[in-house]
């Protein structure tokens, strides 16, 4: 069977025919059982394709991948600008920005965020005070989280703990780097921002835990 509509049936199934053609085809379908059967089959094929399950390789490919990437660290545009530890801090910073939906727009401008603009010492003093306050707030919220995390299911707590591990590592690395270079504008801002992210995450998780009670 191959009438004038046969080759257009997939377009009909996909809703891609113009109104006039669609009406004409539907008129044809009303009288052509064969085309109706094909349309039904095509719809099943589409559904079957969407339901195909992914299967992985029969052997573990990671050892070979790991071997190939060993010694081949990706080159970042900002690597030349900082010491070896700063790219890691920057990466962690991006991760932390992504942890917050409200901060996602910053991720769209990673190069601008990596540009260091020297700030007057007075501003660092303000940052230090702010950091101490944030420390205290984090400690309070951490205490609340420790008390209330039993209200969350274990998989959620696990993911949250992983995020905290990442954040805490970034904070520790920033603080260690600041010991060696206390006037570094990027590191000061990075530390303050990282702590703020932890604060935001703690507030969010605690609110959700409270809602579970």
């Amino acid at each position: 069977m191959n009438d004038q509509w046969t080759d257009r049936l997939s377009e009909y199934v996909d809703g891609e025919l113009a109104n006039g053609e669609r009406h004409a085809l539907e008129t044809h379908l009303a009288t052509c059982a064969e085309c109706r059967a094909i349309v039904a089959d095509l719809r099943k094929v589409v559904a079957r394709a969407k339901a195909l399950e992914d299967r992985g390789p029969t052997r573990d490919l990671w050892p070979r991948v790991a071997q190939r990437i060993r010694g081949d660290r990706p080159v970042r545009h900002d690597r030349r600008r900082f010491s070896l530890t700063v790219p890691q801090l920057l990466a962690a910073s991006i991760a932390l920005i992504l942890l917050s939906g409200s901060g996602a727009w910053l991720a769209l401008k990673p190069r601008q965020s990596a540009v260091v603009t020297p700030r007057p010492d007075a501003e660092f003093a303000v940052l230090n005070v702010s950091t101490r306050r944030t420390d205290a707030a984090i400690a309070d919220l951490q205490e609340v989280f420790d008390r209330s995390k039993s209200r969350l299911d274990t998989s959620t707590v696990r993911v949250v703990q992983q995020a905290f591990t990442t954040i805490d590592r970034a904070i520790a690395e920033a603080r260690a780097a600041l010991v060696a270079d206390p006037g570094n504008a990027y590191l000061n801002l990075h530390l303050a921002d990282t702590m703020r992210r932890k604060l935001e995450l703690l507030r969010r998780v605690n609110a959700i835990a409270a809602a579970q009670s």
């Binding site: 095509l42 299967r55 390789p57 790991a66 890691q88 920057l90 992504l98």
Partner: protein, 183 residues
């Protein structure tokens, strides 16, 4: 926020964190990304190329991803970015093999080969196997459109053909595969 939404969000955050860490050279974070995505990538590669190429190409995809991670800016989900990269690696491989153009327009005979086997129980194929026996052009378009959800305009750009060719190949593929719906 409902718990399920939170979990999905936090899982996505975890993937984004791993992507950022991997971009800075953290191979452990990259292994987590590999474990989370290898099944999808391998399935895509296997469906678009021959099964015996799938392992090698899957490795190539992840090595390429490692090399290109610094270009991942987080505008899309990491999985979406990786998937598009995998499609590009597969298409590049096909060009290297020198089969794309020639076999894209051939294929009616191959389609008949696929449909012709269905009547013989001893060589019965399941749906995935029948898919792997489609001629290359129809197979690519079917996988990209019906399995992976790309639009004809996108597929046409990827394959260097006009959208009408993509539509035509898709229809031929579906017509051949409808014979294997129950397998």
């Amino acid at each position: 926020m409902p718990r399920q939404v939170l979990e999905v969000t936090l899982t996505a955050d975890s993937v984004a964190a791993d992507a950022a860490l991997a971009a800075s050279g953290d191979a452990t974070a990259f292994e987590r990304l590999y474990r989370a995505h290898v099944n999808r990538v391998h399935s895509l590669v296997r469906r678009m190329l021959d099964a015996d190429e799938a392992d090698d190409l899957t490795q190539d995809v992840f090595v390429r991803a490692w090399e290109k991670l610094s270009t991942f800016r987080g505008e899309s989900a990491f999985g979406t970015w990786l998937h598009r990269l995998a499609v590009n690696v597969v298409l590049a491989r096909r060009k290297t093999l020198g089969v794309e153009r020639g076999r894209f327009h051939a294929g009616e005979d191959s389609l008949e080969d696929v449909s012709g086997r269905r009547e013989t129980p001893e060589v019965a194929m399941d749906f995935e196997e029948a898919l792997s026996n489609l001629p290359d052009g129809a197979r690519q378009v079917f996988v990209l459109h019906d399995v992976e959800g790309y639009r004809h305009e996108e597929i046409a750009r990827m394959l260097g053909v006009v959208p009408g060719t993509s539509k035509s190949q898709l229809h031929h593929a579906r017509m051949a595969l409808r014979r294997y719906l129950d397998r």
